[in-house]
Structure formats: structure tokens, C-alpha cells
């Protein structure tokens, strides 16, 4: 760590009267990994979008290597060596690795044609430098998400990026891929690149960052050295209050309680082999495992979204046939998907529409709509789950991730489920909303609902579950009871041990 690579001082930004940023300062040194932390809506992405030239700045100055920089467009930012790697991959799937890396700056021969030879050679060199054993001619769509992300990073570096912003880069990576990403970040540090790292995952921040800057409601709360801080301190900086109890779980299901749902020997070729488990009334059954272990696939079979080859599902001891989600809903099963934007919400429609779409039978008869009932139900869920929205007519896409998740959970609670399947319920959700979702889960099991929770966040599964099923390669490797819970044990089984 030496030279001051970036200094943003007194940055302010307003959107239609709303103060998104109020006089924020931010610094980055070369060879430093500096985390930006804050709840959704705290101003992290606005700050980074200003840096990348996507939004113009209202007040404040930006210095790159101590000289004042005027960033008016994405091009300006790129010319200054600033590169953003977004959560969503922005590569062209049908083009090759080399074509993607050189997109917009293809090397040309003297006659003006694209110099394919040079392009592929250069791409090959870059791939090797980052330890990727891939052919530059390979189409990007054939790569894993992690590999695609590496290509994005290589692309950024090939633009001679000195400053790389990574926005939740690990959200769709497996444990092993994360490790690989961290190695890459190590490489970049050695080369003197400065990295702004945005993530909600505390363990990652402690693993690779040097400093952490916390924003809240557009205000700079403080910058701390990672070595000198704790998770608790960071969380209280983020939410502005001490979270006395983060994970709320104050009930234990009765021992020998009734079995609500059981799965016997469920198999699907190449995906699931002989999965069996029982879910008890008022229980939270955690499902841990690596990405690709078959957890979501299992739930999709139970919910009737996918078919399976063999096996049986029983509800309250009786075998049932579930051919589609409506069959599952009739048996009291609800499934909150892990991809709320792609598979869950109708983003351009209102909060009310999204909450009541599974309730229509209750208030629409032919052309008659019982608007009173609809409004009452909507208000009820907005209140019970404390969904923060200016009004029920608000389009869901304008809500924060946490509130979107609560809207989706409301939709399924409205079906009065006895079995609620939550697939990564707190992914991309800020700390405050996480605690609220845990509180909702706690309330539900008290009311006798049984919950299946798939989660890749180990602290979450460990603190919220009564039992944990660890899956590995399409099967349940082990079923752990509360006394056996530990991160090490779970990882041991999740990796096939």
C-alpha cells in the first residue's frame, strides 16, 4: 500500500429531491482492497456509478492519483482506468473469450482487418497469467459463472484498469470458485491495482479486505481498518443501532411431533438419487450443501415444477401425486424461489398485485372484484411483514431487495401453507431485513407452520435450523441434529466426507 490512487471528496447526489449521497469521502490506495458496506439504499452503488461516469456528480471532487478528474461519461472513466464488474455478467455469450476481452478495441492489421492471430495470442497470455487453462476461441456461454467472471476481470485489466469495482462478485459462486476469485484479487493487488469490494458477506470482508467504509442513508459513517474491527461493530455502524438479537429462534418443535411432509426415495436421473427425509410440525429443517448438490432441484420436484423418475411424497402420512405447483399448493406447500427477480416477482406490477396473485379466487368472481378484501389483505401483509413501500400501488421493482423478498414471502403466506420452502431467503438482502425475515420465520413456526430452508450461508443455517440435511451430489449425505451443528461438520459432509 503506497500511493493514493483515488480520492473522492464531499460527493453529493440528489435524485428528484431525495438526497442519495451527502458529502461522502472515499479513498483507495494502490494495491488495496477497500470494502464498501451498507444496507441496500445506503448509497454504495450510487457512489460507484458516479465513479464510473454513469451518473453525473452534483457536488464534490474526484482525484485520480492526486490530479483532479472530470468524469462525464463511462468512456471518461474507462480512459482514467476505472472499471466496474457488475453483479450481472455483461459478456456476449455467443462470442469467444478473445472476442469478449477485446470487444470494442480489436487489434487490426495494416489493411484494417481484425488481427485474429494477435487477438488470440494476447488473450491466451492473459488467460495464462490468471491461471485459466482455457482456449481463447471458446464461446463464453460454455464457461461457468465463475469463469465468466474471471473473463470480466481480465477484460477490465486489459483496459489497463487501475481501479476495479466489484459489486457482489461472489453472489453466484461456489465456495471453491470464491477461493479462486480471491487468488485473482491477490494477483491484482500485487500489480498495484486498487479494488473496491462491495459485499454483504462479512466473512469475505474479513478474508480479503484491508479497509472497510460504511455508508448509511447516503452519509459516510466511517472508515475502519479490517484488522481492527469486528462483525458486531460493522453491523451496528450499518444499521445505526445495536442488533441485540440477530438470529431469532426461541422455539423448539415438540419431540415426536407429527410428521407433516415426508419424502421417500426420491430419484431423478443425474440429479437426485434416493432422497428421503421427514419434516415435523413447527420445525425449521435446514438444507446445506454446495451449489449443484441438488437442493433446489429437490424442492422443485416436491413443488411440482419438475418431474421425477421414482419415489413418493407423503403429506400427513398419505401418499400424494403432485404434477404441478397448483397440486402442491392444494396440499399446503409453498415455495419461495431463490431467484426472486427472475422466477418470483412481477417487477413492473404493484406490491398489491404481487401479494394477491395467489388469492384471486377469494375476491374475484367473474367480473366482480371485491376491492375492499384485496386492499385489506394487502395492508395486512404490508403491516405484518413491515414491508417498506410508499403505497400498495408502488411497482415492486422500486423496492429494496429485502422488501421485494418480503413481498414474495407474503404472496405465499397468503396461501396459508403448512409447509413453507424458503430457498436462500436472505440472498442479496441487507442486514436489517435479514433479521426481520428471521423474525417472520420464528413467528411462523410458533403458529405451527413447518419450514424448509435452503441456505448457503452457514451461520444462517446453523442458527435458524432445528435439524440440517447436508446434501452432496444429489443425495442427503447426513442429517445433523442441533448438538452436532458446526461450520466444519457441515463443510465436511457437503464436500463428500
Amino acid at each position: 500500500m503506497s500511493q493514493k490512487l483515488l480520492r473522492m471528496s464531499g460527493i453529493a447526489k440528489r435524485f428528484a429531491g431525495v438526497h442519495a449521497l451527502k458529502g461522502v469521502n472515499f479513498e483507495l490506495e494502490s494495491g488495496e482492497v477497500h470494502a464498501l458496506l451498507g444496507e441496500n439504499g445506503a448509497g454504495k452503488s450510487t457512489l460507484m456509478k458516479i465513479l464510473a461516469g454513469i451518473y453525473p456528480v452534483d457536488e464534490g471532487e474526484i482525484f485520480i492519483e492526486e490530479s483532479k478528474a472530470a468524469i462525464h461519461s463511462v468512456k471518461d472513466a474507462q480512459a482514467l482506468g476505472i472499471s466496474i464488474i457488475h453483479q450481472e455478467i455483461s459478456l456476449v455469450p455467443h462470442l469467444s473469450i478473445a472476442e469478449n476481452i477485446f470487444l470494442g478495441k480489436e487489434p487490426v492489421t495494416k489493411t484494417g482487418w481484425i488481427d485474429w492471430k494477435k487477438m488470440n495470442e494476447e488473450a491466451q497470455k492473459s488467460l495464462q497469467r490468471f491461471g485459466l487453462d482455457l482456449s481463447p476461441a471458446m464461446p463464453v456461454k460454455k464457461l461457468t459463472v465463475a469463469q465468466q467472471q474471471m473473463i470480466e476481470i481480465i477484460k477490465a485489466v486489459s483496459f489497463r484498469a487501475k481501479i476495479i469495482v466489484m459489486d457482489e462478485p461472489t453472489s453466484s459462486l461456489t465456495e471453491k470458485e470464491v477461493e479462486f476469485l480471491f487468488q485473482t484479487i491477490g494477483h491484482l493487488k500485487e500489480q498495484g491495482v486498487g479494488i473496491v469490494y462491495i459485499s454483504h458477506r462479512m466473512n469475505e470482508l474479513f478474508a480479503i479486505t484491508d479497509r472497510i467504509t460504511v455508508l448509511r442513508d447516503g452519509i459516510l459513517i466511517g472508515t475502519v481498518k479490517t484488522k481492527e474491527t469486528t462483525t458486531d461493530q460493522l453491523i451496528s455502524m450499518m444499521v445505526g443501532r445495536e442488533l441485540t438479537q440477530y438470529y431469532i429462534k426461541d422455539t423448539v418443535p415438540e419431540s415426536g411431533g407429527e410428521c407433516v411432509l415426508s419424502v421417500h426415495n426420491l430419484s431423478k436421473k443425474g440429479v437426485l438419487n434416493g432422497v428421503s427425509f421427514e419434516l415435523k410440525k413447527g420445525e425449521i429443517l435446514g438444507f446445506a450443501g454446495l451449489v449443484g448438490a441438488g437442493r433446489s432441484e429437490l424442492m422443485k420436484c416436491i413443488f411440482g415444477l419438475d418431474s421425477f423418475d421414482q419415489g413418493e411424497i407423503r403429506i400427513g402420512g398419505n401418499p400424494v401425486i403432485i404434477r404441478n405447483p397448483n397440486d402442491a399448493i392444494k396440499h399446503g406447500i409453498a415455495y419461495v424461489t431463490e431467484n426472486r427477480k427472475e422466477e418470483g416477482l412481477f417487477l413492473i406490477r404493484s406490491v398489491q398485485y404481487n401479494i394477491t396473485i395467489k388469492l384471486l379466487d377469494k375476491f374475484i368472481k367473474w367480473f366482480r372484484v371485491n376491492a375492499q378484501f384485496e386492499n385489506r389483505k394487502t395492508r395486512q401483509y404490508i403491516q405484518e411483514l413491515s414491508i417498506k413501500t410508499p403505497n400498495p400501488e408502488q411497482e415492486v421493482r422500486n423496492l429494496s431487495g429485502g422488501n421485494q423478498q418480503k413481498v414474495l414471502i407474503s404472496r405465499w403466506l397468503a396461501t396459508n401453507p403448512r409447509v413453507l420452502i424458503l430457498d436462500e431467503p436472505t440472498r442479496g438482502v441487507d442486514v436489517g431485513a435479514k433479521a426481520e425475515i428471521y423474525a417472520i420465520m420464528n413467528r411462523l413456526v410458533k403458529e405451527g407452520v413447518s419450514i424448509i430452508m435452503i441456505s448457503s450461508e452457514l451461520p444462517e443455517v446453523i442458527n435458524m435450523s432445528d435439524r440440517i440435511a447436508v446434501m452432496y451430489k444429489g443425495g442427503i449425505r447426513t442429517m445433523l441434529s442441533r448438538a452436532e451443528f458446526s461450520q466444519e461438520t457441515i463443510m465436511h459432509y457437503a464436500t463428500g466426507g
Binding site: 411440482g304 415444477l305 404441478n324 405447483p325 397448483n326 402442491a328 399448493i329 415455495y335 424461489t337 427472475e342 422466477e343 418470483g344 416477482l345 412481477f346 417487477l347 413492473i348 406490477r349 398485485y353 396473485i357 395467489k358 384471486l360 379466487d361 374475484i364 367473474w366 367480473f367 366482480r368 372484484v369 404472496r411
Partner: protein, 317 residues
Amino acid sequence: MAMIYGIKSFIRANIGILAGLVVLCVVIAVLNPNFLTTNNLMNVLRQTSTNLYLALAMTMVIILGGIDLSVGSVMAVSGVVTAMLIALFGAPLVIAVAAGLLVGTLFGALNGYVAATTIIPPFIITLATLNIGRGAAYVLTDGQPVRVMSDAFNFIGSGYIGGILPTPVLYSIIFVILCYLIMNKTKTGRYIYAVGGNPEAARFSGINIKRVKFFAYTFSGFMAGFAGIVLASRMFSGQPTAGVAAELDAIAAVVLGGTSMTGGYGRIGGTVIGALIIGVLSNGLNLIGVSSFWQYIVKGVVILIAVYADVIKRKTA
């Protein structure tokens, strides 16, 4: 109270094209005061009717994330079938009209069935039925118009209610109300928005996507059949060339009305204004004496400007 609120929100939602329609009417009225006579205004509404029937159903199909290119051809087949039953087989009017509607509905059901059960894009499916329908109309008639001498049949498209309201306009009013109710007051309407807005989310919510698609395309076929019969009645004949390119005017009305071609977003009220703009434009240009060749160019430019203005409005909103 609810009524006033409804009108207010209708104006607010469509303020841009509504303003465009008013400006258009003012300009035409200044250039030719005859535009504003009751007689001519009824003319505009009548001329708009056929396109409006198609456009109303097209709105549903497009909000659903689909498209129906076959409606122009289906108009021809339905008109021809009805005309032939009356003229050649002496069938009672009710039977003939019912048969025409049935043919249209069956074409729609075919589109809907294939769209719901295969992954063939609706653009292709309905492009195929466009050709099949047009061909069927030519084959049935051997390419010749089928003349119908029947006052009762003629009344369907050319009659007046109370001596002032043209029958096609009456149908327009009924269908606008019906479609508004379907889209805003029924489960089917909500499901159409859901499937068009996010098909995966609809699937994960247990919405019967196939049934929703089947309904929308079948309804579109029915409406095309109806439009075909009204048109045949007005022309005293079933013509195999009827409704050529009618689908394009319908799509133009829908798009002018602010419905998103990518699905999930749109309003029946917008489509009504969109269809009126197209109707007023061609009526007005005729009154001013612009040649029909130039009218195409003007129409194209108006569509571009209107949709561009809408995109800008939505970006800044």
C-alpha cells in the same frame, strides 16, 4: 366518485397520446371545418371500428408477450364463409354469422394451441396461419368476391341505431367495455399481465400459462371473425382480399396506445386512443385532400414520433 376517479386516472395514464389526438383534431378542423360535423365524427368512429376490434384483442395478445399476425386473413375467411352460406346455400343469417364467428374462433384456437404447447415463436405460428387463412379464403371463393343481397345482413355493418349511432360503433362500445372488464376485473386479465411480465414467475406461482395463452389467441381469432363479418356486410360481399395488412394497423394502434411490445405492460384505454389516432388521421388527410399514397408516409412518421415520445416519457418518469 369512482367514475370520476376512473376518468382522471385514464387521462393521467394516457396524457401524451391524448394530447396528440387533440392536437391532430384541432389541426384538421382548422384546415377543414367539415371535420367537426356530427356526421363526419360518426364516420371516423365507424371507420375506426374494424381496426379497434382487432386492436383490442391484439392488446391482450401483446401484453401476454405474443403477437397475432393472422387477424387480417382470418377476417377474410370469416367474411367469405358467412357470405357464402347466405348467398350460395341460403342459410339463415344467424347460422351464417355463427359459422363465420366459429371459423375465426377456430383459427384463434389453433394459434393458441400451438403457442401454448410448443416453443414455436408466436410470430412464426401466426405468420403461418396468416398464409393458411388467406389461401383458404382464395380457395373457397376461387378468388372471386361473393356478393350478398340481404338487407338483414347489410344492417349488421351499415345500420344505424336510433338513426344516428352506426352499428359498428355500438359494437365498439360493447367490446371496449368487455375488454376493459376482462383486463381489469377478472383473474384471466391479471394472469395475462403476469405471463407477459414474467413467464417464469407465472410458472413458479402455479398460473396455468397454457390456458391463458389459449384464451388470448382464441379471443383474438373470434374478434377477427367478427371484424370480418362486419366488413363483409359493409361491402355487400365476402371478399378474399379483405383485411390485407389489417394486422399492421391493429399493431400500430396497440403500440400507439403505449403497450409494450415486450409484454407485461399496456392498457385497453390506450389502444382505444391509438385506434382513434389512426382513424382520425386517415379521415382527416382525406378531408384535406392528401393523396392515399402520401397517407402511408404520414402514418409511418406519426407512429415513429408517437412511440419515440412515449419511450422518452417513460424514461424520464
